[in-house]
Amino acid sequence: MPITYTSNEQVEVYRFSVPAAILIPLTAVFLQAFVPLRLHFFSIFDLPLLVVIFFAVARRSQVTGLLTGAAIGLLQDSLTGHPIGLYGIAKTVVGYGASSLGVKLDVENAGSRFLVTLFFYVAHEIVYFTVARGLVGLTMQWSWGHELGSAFANAALAVPLFILLDRFKQRT
C-alpha cells in the first residue's frame, strides 16, 4: 500500500537547516537552467517543482509550503522571458496542496512519492497554462501526451531525488 492514511500524531514533521533550505532550491534552479544546454532532453524535467513538493511534504506546514513554492516559482520566473508570477502562482498552489496532502497522508515511500509527483506535476501544468493563457495571453498548446510523458518522467526522477534529499532532513 503506497499511501497510508495516518493521524496527525503519527506523521513525522521534518525541518531543514538554513543552508539546505536555501541551497537546495538554488541548486535546483541552477541545474534547470544549466543542464538543458548540454542535455537538451533534460528540459522536460522540472527540478524546482520536485524540490517544492519534497519540502512541502516533509515540512507538512501549509503556510511554509506555499511560501516555499512561491519563492522558488518566482526565482524560476525571473530567469524566463515571460512576466514574473506564472511559475510563482503554479508552485504556490502545488506547495499548498502538497503540504496539505503531507499532513493527511504518509508519503514517505517510493510508490506514494511517485504518485504524488505525478499528480502535482499535472496540477502544476494546468495552473500554469490557465494563468498563462487567461491572464498573460500567451499562446499555449496543451498536449496530454506530452504532459503525461513529462509527468511520468518527473515522477520517476522524483523517487531517487527524494531519497537523496532525505539526507538533509532533520527531525523536529
Binding site: 544549466f34 522536460i44 503556510v63 506555499l66 525571473s78 530567469l79 522571458g81 504556490t92 491572464l135 499555449m140
Partner: protein
Amino acid sequence: MENLISRYRNVTVLVGILFAQVVGLAVQVQRTSEDRSTRLIRVWAVDAVTPLEKSIVWLQRGGSNLWHSYFYLRGVRQENRELKQEIERLRIEAVRLSDDAEQAHRLQALLGFKEQFISRTLAAQVIGSSGSEQSRSIYIDKGARDGIRPDMAVITADGVVGKVLRVFKTTSQVLLINDQTSGVGAILEKSRLQGVLRGTPAGEVVLEKVMSDEPVLPGEKVLTSGGDQIFPKGLPVGTVTKVSPGAELFLNIRVKPVANLSKLEEVLVVTQQEQREPAVADTGKVRASDILAQRLPSVPDKPVQDANKPSSSASGLKNTPSGASASKPGLTGTEIPKPGGPAAVTPGQTATSNPKPHAVSVGPVIKPVSSAPANPPTGGTDVVKPATAPKHASPAAKAPDEATHPPGSVPEPQIQPEPPPDKPQPEDQPQ
C-alpha cells in the same frame, strides 16, 4: 473575525499570496516596459545563478582546451594537410567572388544603394538557459559592461540565433528566434517574398504573413529582410521544410533554423552596424551599361556622353536629367532612380520624378536606348521604363535577356521594382 482568520489562516495566506502575484502579473501585462517593475527581482535571480554557471563553463572550457590543445593531437598532421588544401581551393574561389563582389559594389554605388555592414561583433559564451520549455531564451556571459544593449542581434557562423532581450551588468538574456514572443523580418531567397518569422509554443519556427497565391517550395532558404531594424539584411535564418495553406489566405511555412538552437555554446553579438554606400574608387567613371558591357560581350561599348546633352524620346518616354542624376558622374543622361524611388514609372511619365530611397530597387537591367534603332545605343538618350513583372524578375533573371540582344539592336531600358525595398542581393547580379 479574529477567530475566523486564525481558523482559516492557511487559506487566508494562500489567497493573499495568490492575489498578490495575480496583481503583479496584471501590472506587468498592462505596462509596456515591464522591466522597470521587475528589474530588481530579475537582477537578484540572475546574480544568484549565473556566477556558478560562469565558473562551470569556464572550468569546462579550460579543461576542453587543455585536452584538445595539449593531449589529444591525434591526426593533427593529416588535418593540417587537408586544411592547407582547403585554403588553396578557397583562395581560388575568393578571387572569383571578389570580382563579382566588386562589380556588385560598383552597381550599388551607381544606384545609390546603402549597404548594411556588420562592423563590430562581440563573441560571447552561452552560460545558461531559461530552464523552461515555455520560454526559449539563453544567457550569455557578456553584459552592459561589455557594451551589450537590448535589441542587439545575436548570430552564429551558421545564421541568426536571436536578439538581446535584457541586459545585466555582466550577463545578458537572449530571446531565441523559436520563442513564441519573438519576431524576425525575413525574406525567401528565391521568391523574394517577405514575412515574419515567429516561434511556436512547441519551439518550432514558422514564417507568417506570406500570401498563399505565391508558390513556395520546401528547401528554399530564408534570410533576414532587415525590415525589423535589428538584424542586418541577408543573414541566413533557415530553410523551408514544409508549406501548407494557413488561415486567411496566408501560407503556413515551417522553417528549420540553420543555427542549432538547442546546442549553442558560443555566439556573436552584433554590437555595431553601419549603413553606408559602397566605396568604389572609380564609381564616377563607370556607367551601369558599361559594366554590363564588360560582362556581356554582345553589348557593344558606348562612348561617354555629356550629361547636359538634350535627351531624345523613345517609346513615348522622355528623359529629363534631374539634378540627382546629372550630379552623378558617369550617369550621363541615364535616369537611375535611387533605390526607394517611385514604385513604378508609368509609360509616358517623365522619368525625373523625385526618387526616394528604399522603395524601388534597380537591377542592372537599365539599358540604354537610342533613337536610331540601327545604331548602337548611345548615352544621353536613356530612358527608363517600369518592368511589368516586379516580383520574380531579379537582375540575374533579366541578364540573359540582355545578352540575347544583338549588337545594334534597341534594348528597352527597364526599371525593375522589386518587393524587397533594400539593396539588391549580390548573388542576383548577372554573372
